[in-house]
């Protein structure tokens, strides 16, 4: 079974991703499965009743389409066709911060070690690493930093609100 990084450790993936599913007949039964947004929106009633169905978002999909679903969806996967396409970072923050999604938020596609820390800050908790890469090695990417300045999904307060107000200020001119 393909391995992924989940909650900071290498894990076995129990999900089947069906990125090319266009109708219900394309959706495998009896396994947890993620389908494209278009299919989800077209067959929401059936898929919701089935349970164990997640949604795959393309970079240009609008996360507000899932505003009614985030409370119940177990998994949302965001595709990075190339790691240099940064739209998924905004999608992730919107899902976590604006639409209060608390299920598994998974990065899929061109997912590499050197982007994991930034993705985790934006709210991803699962990473389906590109197949040719070693997940054990990539785990180190999650420890590249011990904190950044900006407010994010994982760190809702920016540095200037986390900083201890009592810390002394060293000024340039004594």
């Amino acid at each position: 079974m393909p391995r992924l990084i989940k909650d900071g450790a290498v894990a076995v993936d129990r999900w089947t991703l069906a990125p090319d599913a266009y109708s219900l007949t394309d959706v495998p039964e009896c396994v947890p499965v993620a389908v494209p947004l278009a299919l989800w929106l077209a067959e929401r009633g059936v898929l919701r009743a089935r349970g164990n169905v997640g949604v795959i978002l393309a970079p240009d999909d609008d996360p507000s389409a899932l505003a009614e679903d985030t409370a119940t969806l177990p998994l949302i996967a965001i595709d990075f066709p190339q790691f240099t396409d940064g739209r998924g970072y905004s999608t992730a923050r919107l899902l976590r911060e604006r639409y209060r999604f608390e299920g598994e938020l998974r990065a899929i596609g061109d997912v590499l070690r050197d982007q994991l820390y930034l993705m985790a800050e934006c709210g991803f908790d699962a990473f389906a690493l590109r197949e040719d890469r070693d997940p054990e090695d990539a785990l180190r990417g999650l420890r590249d930093f011990s904190g950044l300045y900006a407010a994010t999904a994982r760190t809702p307060q920016p540095w200037f609100r986390r900083r201890k107000a009592s810390s002394p200020i060293e000024t340039f001119y004594p």
Binding site: G86, S90, Q115, F145, L148, Y149, A150, P158, F160, A165
Partner: protein, 552 residues
């Protein structure tokens, strides 16, 4: 200036460790060139014609002498003994070895410097007014706000992979020395009738192959909302900016294609969801940052220096230098001094390691250990006693840093061009040099008066040719280098884009063309009318007629 805290240092240190490992993996073949490229670019490292080029950030142009000495050390140890100050207040080293770059970054971290996001499709170094804190026309000191934005933009996790690069400029004066209207975001700090600080926010300005003056999308943004508003702008851009064509990927194209009104509406909608949230900056934070930018311990002086006045009367070379390179200070008895990096024979913006050390010594002696970098590629001492100007002038002269040409024809803004840059279509440094040599009569230069000649070696416009009073653009015609000339551009709050005067010229013709343009100006000018105003009044025709009647 801002002093790093442990947290700032930890981020820069961790970034060095991260990049050291990325470089190791690239050299070991574990990262492909395509995978490594964005990583190295976000650490300022280009692969250029002859060698890598490392661009080091000088946040909003403020530099301490400790840092300058470190830059001198890096130039000597890892490069060929010089550095190049850029039009975005950064410094570039043109000859480092890839293998050495992690070590260079570690050395920079020792003095709280880095190369984070000086390149790549991310938020770049925020630029600002080199006279911040001392300018007579300052409404709000922009430096605390610049530092706030520096921290926010540094490794902002949502915006590391934008459609294209993103440049922010912030000013707090009524006169613009920052070219805010040709930036992706240009923010001008202003005060409302009640004295509250806010920002006038322009978006979508830029140079490059599609030059556009920025659109003001908000006349008054409450200052505490600056980060939320910038988040909103960046988020709209990150999600909707074009990624199919890198020449149409800047935010200016998105603003144009959506229309400024529709773009503004999207930003305002997004901001409405963020306003008042964690990103709203509490007053204590601005006070904290402002406390890093207190005035140096200046003397209280009752009057302007009499010795300075006497020296002006005694020495014509000194008064010539003072008339161009010295600017009034907000405090009596002090002056702002610009060190010219535009000596004929030296590529514009280049400084040797020995000069850097000498400049650091002089800044320690004469300007409280701090200096500034301008986007015109010169350096500034912000706090010089008028009574010490003559001494400083003689010391600067000894270092060849006292060319009295600030704002004059030979103070050319110029990119590295085809001698170094792999993007360039044509050389730029030798053309700048030929123009400087042609205008070697100092009295004539002073008589011509204020004029900005900006030159870029390609349409990426690093030399800001679109906003030069005279803009020169290197173009490639069937494999040979030609130069297109434009007139009437200007920076500032009434920024305008220059218009091309006609067919381009061979390199050898350029100095003659400039001379003819100047001759027309001298024939047509009204008393006290500067070059660009004559161009605006008389139009392009008289200039075109002269140039093309004789040249073609």
């Amino acid at each position: 200036m801002y002093r790093y805290e442990d947290f700032d240092r930890s981020i820069v240190a961790q970034r060095v460790v991260q990049f050291r490992d990325q470089t190791r993996r690239f050299l070991a073949g574990e990262l492909t060139e395509d995978e490594f490229r964005p990583l190295r670019l976000q650490n300022g490292l280009y692969i250029q014609k002859h060698a890598p080029m490392l661009r080091v950030a000088i946040p909003y142009g403020v530099l301490s002498t400790l840092q300058l000495r470190k830059l001198a050390h890096i130039a000597r140890t890892y490069d060929r003994g010089y550095g190049h100050f850029t039009t975005r207040q950064n410094i570039q080293f043109n000859w480092p070895r890839l293998e050495d770059v992690p070590e260079i970054l570690a050395e920079l971290a020792e003095v709280d410097m880095h190369a984070i996001q000086t390149s790549g499709n991310c938020v770049r170094n925020t630029t600002s007014d080199p006279f911040a804190g001392v300018a007579a026309d300052e409404v709000v000191d922009p430096r605390p706000w610049c530092e706030l934005v520096r921290q926010w933009s540094t490794l902002h996790p949502e915006f590391a992979f934008l459609p294209r690069k993103f440049k922010i400029a912030i000013t707090g004066a009524t006169g613009d020395r920052t070219a805010i209207l040709v930036h992706d975001i240009g923010a001008q700090a202003v005060r409302d009738a009640a004295g509250n600080v806010g920002f006038r926010v322009a978006v979508g300005g830029g140079q490059g192959r599609t030059p556009i003056i920025g659109h003001v999308i908000r006349e008054f943004l409450p200052a505490a909302e600056i980060l939320n508003y910038f988040d909103a702008i960046l988020r709209v851009y990150n999600r909707h900016g074009r990624r199919d064509n890198k020449y149409k990927a800047r935010i200016k194209i998105l603003v144009k294609e959506m229309t400024p009104a529709a773009f503004t509406h999207r930003v305002e909608q997004e901001w409405a969801r963020l306003c008042g949230g964690p990103g709203t900056v509490p007053p204590e934070e601005i006070e904290r940052l402002a406390s890093h930018f207190t005035d140096p311990p200046r003397q209280d002086l009752p009057r302007a220096s009499l010795a300075y006045r006497a020296a002006l009367a005694d020495s014509r070379p000194f008064s010539q230098w003072a008339s161009r390179n010295v600017r009034p200070h907000k405090r009596t008895g002090y002056a702002i001094v610009t060190l010219s990096l535009k000596k004929t024979g030296v590529p514009p913006g280049d400084v040797t390691a020995a000069q850097m050390d000498a400049i650091a010594d002089l800044a320690d002696r004469h300007s409280f250990g701090e200096l500034r970098v301008t986007h015109e590629q010169n350096l500034v001492f912000t706090d010089v006693l008028q009574s010490e100007l003559y001494t400083l002038w003689t010391r600067l002269k000894a270092q060849e840093l006292a060319t009295p040409n600030i704002g004059l024809l030979t103070d050319i803004i110029c990119c590295p061009g085809g001698d170094f840059c792999s993007l360039a279509n044509a050389k730029s440094i030798p053309i700048a040099d030929a123009i400087q040599r042609r205008f070697d009569d100092l009295d004539f230069l002073h008589d011509i008066g204020e004029i900005e000649i900006n030159m870029s070696g390609c349409m990426n416009a690093c030399g800001h040719h679109h906003v030069g009073h005279i803009g020169i653009l290197g173009v490639d015609k069937n494999g040979s280098e030609w130069y297109q000339v434009s007139l009437g551009g200007s920076q500032g709050l009434q920024a305008s884009l220059g218009k091309v005067i006609g067919p381009s010229f061979a390199a050898a013709e350029v100095p003659d063309v400039i001379a003819q343009l100047i001759d027309v100006y001298i024939d047509l000018r009204h008393p006290d009318e500067v070059f660009v105003d004559t161009v605006r009044r008389a139009g392009l025709d008289p200039f075109k007629e002269r140039v093309y009647a004789t040249a073609h």
